[in-house]
Amino acid sequence: MRCPGCAATAPDGARFCPSCGSRLEKRGVSGARKQVAVVFCDLTESTALSERLDPESLRTIMLGYYAAMRDCLESHGGVVEKFIGDAVMGVFGLPTAHEDDALRAARAALAMRGALDRLNDELAGRVDVRLNVRMGIEAGEVATADDASAGQALVTGEVVNVAARLQTQAPPGGILIGEGAHALTGRLLTTAPLGAVSVRGKAEQVRAWRLLGVREDDPAINRRFDAPFVNRDRALTELDTVFAAVVELHTCKRLTLVGEAGLGKTRLVRFWAESATRRGALFGTGRCAPYGEGGGLRALADALRGALGEQQGPATDVLRCLFANGTLGAAPDETVWAVATCLEAAGAPVVLAIDDLHWASPELLDLLATLEDRLSAVPVLLVCTARPDGAPAPPSLELRPLLADDCRRLSSTLLDTTAHQADVLEQVVRRCEGNPFYLEQLVALIGDGMDPEQVPPALRALLSARVDALRPGERHVLACASVIGREFGRAELEALCDGDVGEPLARLTGKQLVEPSGARHRFASTLIQQVVYAETAKSTRADLHERLAAHLDAAGDQPGTVGTHLALAYRLRCELARPDAETVPLRDTAADRLAKGGEQALRHGDLSRAVHLLEDAHALTGDGNPLVVERLGEARVAVGDAAGGVPLLRRALELGDERMACHARLYLSYLDGGLPGVRALEAAEVFEAAGDDLGLARAMVRIGQQAQADGRFAQARTALERGLGHAILADAEMERAMALGALAVSLWLGPEPASVGVSRCEELLRAHGRGRRTVQAVVGCPLAVLHALNGDFGRAEAALTRAEAILSELGHAYATAFIPMFSATVAHLAGRAADAELLLRRARDAATALADAQLRVTAVRDLARVLYEQGQGAQAYALAREGMADPDGAQPMMRAEFMSLTARVLGELPLAEEAWTLAATTDSPLMQARVLADRAHVRAVHGDAVGAREDLAAAGALRAGKER
């Protein structure tokens, strides 16, 4: 497809041009992915049947068989997807998901077997055949139409094949269930494990179980009722209070506990009821079912039977129908009278618990209301539990999510034996949103060694049932929001939904699926967002990501964010089809935006984001984009991953892009040592020609640093000030900070008196430091030393502490080396040589870990000096030798000092002279003073007291000039 705006090729199905962002065509959202359960049922020996029966008889029998199977599937909430020959395929979860689709499928399969038995009994008198079936059940994700309705949806997915294949492996009359369905039904089924079985068309074996039966519908089976009970005191007290009133006033009251599925409503009632029965109450429970056999009043009948047992008498006769099948069977008034009579006859307070009132039939709701009104003089407490959607009449008690600490305690007991690594449980606690059922499921997930960032299947079933219950418009809004993220703004959402979202958003908020978050909205939990996202067709997600990218781009959002969405769209498209000529431009645009975003983050010193974005870009284009390769190399080195970064920088030298090669060479030259100045001059020409301000800023900073290494501090300043100018033009925060940091170092080591240095540094901070924390830190460090030179150690320490706090907050890897280095200099000036030694050792180790040769040799130089002053001449000598041998120690500022110290330790006059000759070429009074002091020492050793005195005087004058 070609874009009408810019004629660029747009990927098939794109709604916006990836090059210019103009709209290509308007299409509705279509297709969905759902978690469903599939039942496959096939007749055995059907060929023999057709041989033995007249076609007419066979047809009659087959029609009866199909009808019976269809009935069973539909009465459990399934749909018949198709009949294939003698096989029937039923699907649970379409068009609407239920939280118990896998369980429904298992129940339906058992019912189908029962129905077939009945059919065979009927046939037995007429023909001489028995029908027999095998069945297979599996649950998992399928693709389907967005508005899938019975018989129209084409359901595709591996789960369909697995269910069909399991069926072929089943013995006649047997039902096999696969791993997905088994995981969802858990302890609710009785099964016999078959281990791994091979199925045709699948490379890996699948685990299978033989379905034997369904256990009684007891909520305690599938939930961890063995876990400790945490923090429900308020609800328990409320139940106590109402119960006390019921007993005292001999009246009937109803209390409804309202809370999301999984919050522990049922368990709370059971737990409280234990204490009530100890106080003499009779207790019975019943559960409303979402579908199934039995009349609408069955829950009440079960509760009455549980509390009162089997009774005899006229009242019981009236209730016979109620107890037998859960239907009224008598006039409502008579039923109420009979219930009242039975309850009165009990002679004790009665607690009737009705679970899942949100599934109650209208008759049950009516009857409960009537009982509450009309029962007098009988102490009865009706405790109902319900979910918030459509929760019936008050008085109700809302059950709140658990607090994080409660979740921690709960999770620690749910896992039997655990390692004491703090972050493992934290992830679960964060994701469970205070819901104990979610917590159990997530804990089970990590217990199985799975990634706790996944959505456990049982949770997906629960949440997708919640989402499916929404209106299509609301679902669509939610799908669009899920593409934006956990948090989303209204403008973005409206851009994706093509219209006003105020109303659906308000309804979704009312249903607690989303919640306001400042001016924006957010999903009530990441789990909901993940489920909605997972259930949106990948092609739709890809479209939405692209549209969102176009919207964000137009709104001037960061290129990194735009690129992230484009990359997601590209990856989704690749998952659907092999990349082709149409998806390639999408990939390139995504990589381009990611690279821009990464560069921007790098320039602004947001290193971890830079690495993240550039990694994404690199994953898309590999070495095809030299800029990405080079910048990723830089970013990795900057976060301390030299091993990962340096190879990329080396590769950038060979990709044929001269400008990027210059960047890489410049960066490497610093790491490798060598002569950055020369390379920087060459690079500067390339950058000048390309108008690359960032490159020029870097080259100038390097040239300045080279001048510093040579001890030409006045010249360094000129280059650094130029570099600063280019850094400002390039909006490059890192380079700006580097230029400023280097300028401050020049002020410390160069010819200006310390007091001038202090005021210049403060000027720099005023001009550039506001809102720039890195600048404050890198100027703050040399400033600290300048304060110390002025004798103001209080301000020196304060400046260092602040710089350290900033850098560690920013996650700057180099802070581990240069903070101790500057701290050591200050400690040394303050006469705390032992502290300085410790700090320098730390600095040296950190520089080694960072593979930064320059920093390391600097630390070695200062450490040698500090050791010597503490009387450890041998060690100092060894380090000075090490420094002399180090190619990074060859530059004048280094070499002069190493030589000078060696001369002093050995008492070698020619070496001391040589050191001074080198030092004299520099304009660093502090270094010169040290070298002169060393020579004075050597001269004194050789008996030249006059020369020694002269040197000391000269050194003193230099120091005084700096420190005055």
Binding site: F229, S412, T417, T418, A419, H420, G447, G449
Partner: protein, 269 residues
Amino acid sequence: MAALDLALTWRLKDRPDDLGVTTTWWSHAPDLAGATGRGVRVCVLDSGIEPGHPSVGPIQGSYAVEIENGEPIVRETQAKDVCGHGTACAGIIRKIAPECELYSVRVLGPGFAGRGNVFVEGLRWAVEQGFDVINLSLSTTRKQLADELRAVSDDAFFRRSVIVASAHNLPVESYPWRFSSVISVGSHAEEDPALLIYNPRPPVEFFAHGSDVEVAWPGGGRRRCTGNSFATPHVTGLCALVLSGCPRLTTFQVKNALYMYARNVRREP
């Protein structure tokens, strides 16, 4: 419902300086200078240890507790770490006691969790093998196992197998760190790997470096982790150093050596 004793101490929130302990005890802090852990057999009961990790070095033996016919049984196995936790602990021990022998018994699964009976069997086996020090950076909350674990821990105490057991990260009851026959370890918040604090208010007896600890991680890498899991191997390493100097010490002597070594314990002048 398990009663939760919120007074249980598992992490030192005070500054160590506030926990000064003065002793009139007549022994001395052990001199660990030059100790390397040589000759001491240390067993890490955990998720396994990755072989060939540069921060862990050689492993002398790898075992795993497997379920056979429903019963847990220890088998020699190929060295591997199923989640990374055991490698992290082993790396800390190796750093402190570079020449100790390391053995791995895998009792945890890939999700940093395992079954209580598997854990008990692994510990029982380790005690039977007579390892000098056994590192337990884990515990079980199953009350039913408490008696059995107590018996195994007491057995270890008299057999001179020093069990170093991590306290739970949360104020909950779990085992075996609660028993007096083991050396229990929590975390202090200082950044000092060499800092050991004796706790005058047990059940946790010692605090070691367990916050933001840089540890070895499978794949040859390193990462930063927090939890009593990582304080414990610091103490295990110290035990190995103590025992490499005096191989015949009993568990109570080792515990006393740690007590005297703890930085907050000062001899009365």
